[in-house]
Subunit: 221 residues, 2 copies
């Protein structure tokens, strides 16, 4: 989440539409992630900004559209990370593992993103549906996965018959759950899935799981 820098306000009013907009988005992201859509307070967002509530309505139109804008930016960030992925020079096994680790790392580094997605689920993805930007964003990772899968199957290493979307779901589910259920799981089973000293353990576990699934001996089938 790109954070707006903090230039000491030179007393009077500053006119900088881009900065004002970005600052509202930053604070709104935090507030929505903190309290959910309904729980988030427009006044609270305004108060933690160097501008006023009036500007939120001026730039975004309303609470609903503001949340949509927040989601759009959050998804853009993860898509950009995926785009920087460069694994196709690796052998299929290493490539998949690398890709899974990228997802793992991103989820861990962006708990706010996970919270926003959880919140959006409660609202049945209506804001995503309302956004043209998100409908067309696609997922670069999907193309990469598709190519790695094809290469792996061709070489005979991968035996599983999955497509890119399902494998992406499998990888995401593990990464998502670990963060999204950190507190509930912790309270119920007494284990912190995001504890720092367990990080490598779960990161390896994810890779092992995906590779085992893809390369399992299916001669008995």
């Amino acid at each position: 989440m790109t954070t707006v820098e903090e230039p000491a306000r030179s007393g009077g009013r500053i006119r900088d539409a881009a900065r004002t907009r970005a600052e509202i988005l930053d604070v709104a992201t935090q507030e929505f992630a903190r309290a959910g859509f309904t729980g988030a307070r427009v006044d609270e967002i305004a108060a933690r900004t160097r501008t006023t509530k009036r500007m939120i309505y001026y730039y975004f139109g309303g609470k609903e559209q503001l949340f949509t804008a927040v989601l759009e930016r959050a998804y853009t960030v993860i898509r950009q990370a995926e785009q920087q992925l460069d694994v196709e020079h690796l052998d299929p096994v290493a490539a998949i593992r690398r890709l899974a680790e990228l997802t793992f790392d991103h989820h861990e580094a962006h708990p706010d993103f996970i919270r926003l997605v959880s919140i959006e689920y409660i609202h049945e993805a209506e804001h995503i549906a309302a956004s043209e930007a998100l409908g067309a964003i696609g997922s670069p990772a999907l193309d990469v996965i598709g190519r790695i899968l094809a290469a792996g199957r061709e070489s005979g290493l991968f035996t599983a018959d999955v497509d890119a979307v399902d494998l992406h779901a499998m990888i995401s589910s593990f990464c998502f759950f670990r963060v999204a259920n950190r507190h509930t799981f912790g309270a119920l089973f007494g284990r912190d899935l995001v504890a720092a000293d367990q990080r490598e353990h779960y990161r390896t576990m994810l890779g092992d799981m995906v590779i085992a699934y893809l390369t399992a001996d299916r001669s008995a089938d």
Copy 2:
């Protein structure tokens, strides 16, 4: 979720503490799942009940405690399902697959439960923490998993070095994600993870994944 039956109200006031309490819980479960904790309206819950808001405060004390009670009952239901599990006569591979399928089926059959857990995560599990009942509920499934794992390792079938809690997390993550991200994932990737005609596909995929992980050839390690 046990639903209260609907005896035609015989005109006057009926006094049935247990029924009133249960009815409030039923409606509250729906309302909280629908709109989240903050989004849920106490007045709305009362309106959809044959009693009044006054009774909610009479029996539960407040919105917060009502939500805690709703969570307690929801978790109790899944724990009961786990308790009825009878898989220890099966071989380890079949037993684990059976257990994974039970979790799969329960998550699919109880989307409201998934929503409640997601909502509780947004509130950092504070209601679970506030409930003595939930702190001690444990998970019968964990004991079962532990015994199956031990048997599988002893027979040499299972090569993975996981404990019951982590395997439970792995199974749950797949089942949880599929339901919890149904709408968001669908809107972004155009695939409904809970589509009826894909049910067997994902159910098999889960089992394959877990078994592959547990039985993977680790001789190269």
